[in-house]
């Protein structure tokens, strides 16, 4: 069977002609010269290098800065497709915040038996320090990245929820900026909903969650682990675009019951800290005592309402893939509605029957670590060798509770520009969701990640994936 028949292609739809959202683009594309487009594609790389949009790679011999490859063919969604996705995402994110509040307060969902108690007890991201504490404005996840995949015309699945510190939004913005510079004529011809106000919306959303101690205009700062962090470019980019200070732990200390930053004119209190530092490193007095990245005492200030930490500590429980498997129940429990967006069917290997099924069908399944992320430590059955399968089987048998398994999804494809012209590659989509006390705000679009190798289903940038600009068309 050819790839074209097995996988849903978002441009052609498999039927030869372009699907409706791609019709205008296709018409434009047919009038273009491939060699010229290839040249433009090389220009894009120069553009990214010049602007310094790079990420640092861990473990490389020399600390190198690498580019995430960018493909110039946009990923296009119709306004109608988007509004359905947006409704589903909003519902899910609302449920996630209600769930987090419940887990750190009365734990009704555990009492009702809809979600087993063990799954929280065993969750490494659960923070007992958060019990009974309500973050300012009741918001736990100020920023969420909901990873979606598609398998057909109306078939969208949530692949995972990133409620901890979703990254990549700077690529969403820079990809659009690059496209605007390279193909202005396309944007005259096709009406694409803008994404460039994301930083303004992010700032507004963060400021709306300011703590009780804030008097006057909320002071927002971005906390970065520093210049050597792989996502440093994004941290500085977002701070710059929001007009917020970019701080490190060494710039901060407790002054008069507030977290304050050392400025040229003395210490100034911060109201909202958008932190890109993991929970464990946030406060050496409470969490990892070795941490140099955080601020000693910040957690006490937080509990006393002296600062907003975004996202709240302890939200990582929702990134857990065992929790993920209960997400349809969680949505229903808190919203009283059926989940609009589907979950990928998931076998929890902690359950003996599920484990047996997984072991019997290992070569057809994708197996993931419960706490893993970034595509590390995962098995893609159909792509694995006999040896890899055997090795993974041993790991599964040794610690079944550490894994979940899912069917290998027939991820949709979108073409990329190769030397030979357009060629289909698998994609996913991460929209970015902003949560403030009064509303949930979703920027139309997101980051489309694309596997650059033919046939590959792994889109992570750390594993050789690239990105595309994502267009949501005006209705």
């Amino acid at each position: 069977m050819s790839d074209n028949a097995r996988f849903f292609d978002e441009m052609s739809g498999g039927a030869g002609g372009p699907r409706q959202p791609y019709a205008d683009y296709q018409r434009w594309f047919e009038g273009e010269d491939i060699a010229n487009l290839r040249r433009k594609s090389d220009e894009a790389e120069t553009f990214f290098r010049r602007t310094g949009i790079t990420f640092n790679v861990y473990g490389a011999a020399e600390a190198t800065e690498r580019l995430i490859p960018f493909d110039i063919v946009p990923r296009i969604l119709s306004g109608r497709e988007w509004s359905r996705l947006a409704r589903g995402i909003e519902q899910r994110v609302r449920a996630i915040n209600a769930f987090l509040h419940d887990i750190y307060h009365r734990q009704e969902i555990l009492r009702s038996g809809r979600v087993p108690k063990e799954i929280i007890a065993q969750n490494v991201a659960f923070l007992p320090q958060m019990i009974g504490m309500t973050p300012p404005g009741g918001v736990y996840t100020h920023i969420v990245g909901t990873d979606l995949v598609r398998t057909g015309e109306d078939e969208f699945y949530v692949l995972e929820d990133n409620a901890r510190t979703p990254s990549g939004v700077s690529y969403m913005l820079e990809n659009r900026e690059t496209m605007l510079q390279m193909f202005p004529e396309l944007f005259t011809r096709i009406r694409v909903r803008p994404v460039s106000d994301y930083p303004t919306r992010l700032r507004r959303s963060l400021a709306a969650s300011a703590p009780a101690a804030c008097n006057g205009k909320p002071v927002v700062a971005v906390l970065t682990p520093g210049i050597h962090n792989s996502a440093y470019f994004e941290h500085s980019f977002l701070a710059d675009q929001m007009g917020a200070e970019l701080v490190e732990g060494s710039d901060l200390r407790v002054v008069d019951g507030r977290i304050a930053m050392r400025t040229t004119q003395g210490y100034q209190p911060i109201d909202v800290l958008y932190r890109r530092v993991d929970d464990d490193f946030l406060d050496p007095l409470i969490f990892n005592p070795q941490s140099m990245l955080g601020v000693p005492g910040i957690f006490d200030i937080y509990r006393a309402g002296g600062i907003t930490i975004a996202n709240a500590p302890g939200t990582g429980i929702c990134d857990d893939k065992a929790i993920y498997s209960y997400m349809p129940d969680i949505v229903e429990f808190y919203t009283g509605e059926k989940a609009i967006l589907k979950n990928v069917p998931t076998w929890r290997c902690s359950e003996p029957e599920a484990l047996k099924h997984v072991l019997d069908n290992l070569a057809e399944l994708v197996v993931k670590e419960v706490h893993g992320s970034g595509g590390y430590g995962m098995l893609v059955g159909p792509a694995a060798s006999k040896k890899e399968l055997a090795a993974f089987r041993a790991k599964l048998e040794a610690r079944p509770g550490n894994y979940i398994a899912q069917p290998t999804l027939a991820l949709s494809t979108v073409p990329i520009l190769t030397k030979a012209g357009l060629a289909p590659r698998h994609v996913d989509l991460r929209p970015y969701v902003l949560v403030s006390p009064d509303r949930i705000d979703i920027v139309p679009g997101g980051l489309t990640r694309v596997a650059l190798k033919a046939g590959s289903l792994v889109v992570n940038s750390s594993q050789g994936g690239g990105t595309k600009d994502t267009w949501v068309l005006e209705e």
Binding site: R49, R50, T51, G52, I227, Y232, S236, F237, A239, D240, A244, E245, L246, V247, E248, S250, D251, M261, R262, T263, T264, Q265, G266
Partner: protein, 313 residues
């Protein structure tokens, strides 16, 4: 503005200035070696001394020789003041303070780093020297142009300028100090072509040969050169000009912050010292002594600025 950010801007522009000045120094040395008869080793040794790199040089090489001197000063990664190291340090400071820079300044800095890194990847051949040195100067001019053309005139700009002029005052004073003996009238054989060349080399290192000719109508006299490079407030690389700019920028900070600091007193005192001095009294009291004092004052001023504006904890 964060103290760390102010410090990052200060050091970013110090290192940019240093890379440009080191390139000028190599350019002057290269020219001397070409135009002067006999053994150029002395000239290269003096270039190394001016850069303050004698220990670093002798740890690597035995004899003073053009190729090695150029290699150390332009592209030695282990030597922290080489052009390559300076531009790398400038660029990592720029990354650190990315939020305080306009996109234009950041891109110009990033591009300067990429360009200079690429041309200094291999040892510079003699036939490429002019091109390479020109490119280094041009790249730093591009960053400066972006700074002037796009940055808000606020505290960030002031710290960038303070870093620039602190470094420039230091570098110009060092150039003079290494050559001070050729500027002393008692030792100079007036009119000898050798000394003319030496004075011209000083002027060249501070990009002042043309301006000096216009001001003096073509006559080169040692005291005149010293006066020009130390006291002339019109000459953008002179000590007087650099110190004036330092004091100005510190007073802009005073206006913006509404607070006066010890560093400002120091800068004003230094400005007064240069204004109230004539070249005759400087020579009477000893040019070398004057320059040594000046370098110490500049270092103390730098430390005071760092403290006043909380660059570090």
């Amino acid at each position: 503005m964060l103290g760390k950010t102010a410090g990052g801007l200060f050091w970013m522009f110090r290192y940019l200035e240093r890379s440009e000045n080191t390139a000028r120094l190599v350019e002057a040395g290269f020219r001397m070696a070409l135009t002067r008869g006999g053994d150029p080793a002395d000239e290269w040794a003096s270039v190394i001394d001016t850069a303050g790199a004698r220990a670093a040089y002798l740890a690597r090489y035995d004899a003073f020789e053009g190729g090695s001197v150029v290699d150390l000063l332009l592209r030695d990664r282990e030597y922290s003041s080489s052009v390559l190291s300076s531009i790398e340090t400038a660029r990592s400071n720029a990354r650190l303070v990315r939020t305080a820079l306009t996109r234009e300044v950041w891109e110009a800095t990033n591009e300067a780093w990429m360009t200079i890194k690429a041309i200094l990847q291999r040892p510079v051949r003699e036939q490429d020297m002019t091109h390479v040195l020109g490119l280094i100067r041009q790249q730093s001019a591009l960053v400066r142009g972006a700074l002037h053309g796009s940055m808000l005139r606020n505290d960030g700009y002031d710290f960038a300028r303070i870093g620039t002029f602190l470094e420039r005052a230091d570098n110009t004073a060092r150039i003079l100090d290494v050559k001070y003996y050729v500027l002393l009238p008692s030792l100079a054989q007036i009119g000898s072509s050798l000394d003319n060349m030496q004075w011209e080399s000083v002027l060249r290192s501070v990009a002042g040969q043309r301006a000096y000719r216009w001001i003096t109508g073509g006559e080169i006299a040692p005291m005149g050169v010293a006066e020009f490079v130390i006291l002339d407030g019109r000459m953008p690389r002179s000590l007087a000009f650099s110190v004036m700019k330092l004091a100005d920028n510190l007073s802009f900070l005073e206006n913006e912050y509404g607070a006066r600091h010890a560093s400002q007193e120091r800068a004003e005192a230094l400005r007064a010292k240069l204004r109230d001095n004539s070249i005759d009294t400087i020579f009477e009291q000893g040019l070398h002594e004057f320059l040594v004092d000046f370098l110490a004052d500049i270092a103390a001023l730098g430390a005071q600025i760092e403290q006043d504006y909380r660059f570090t904890g």
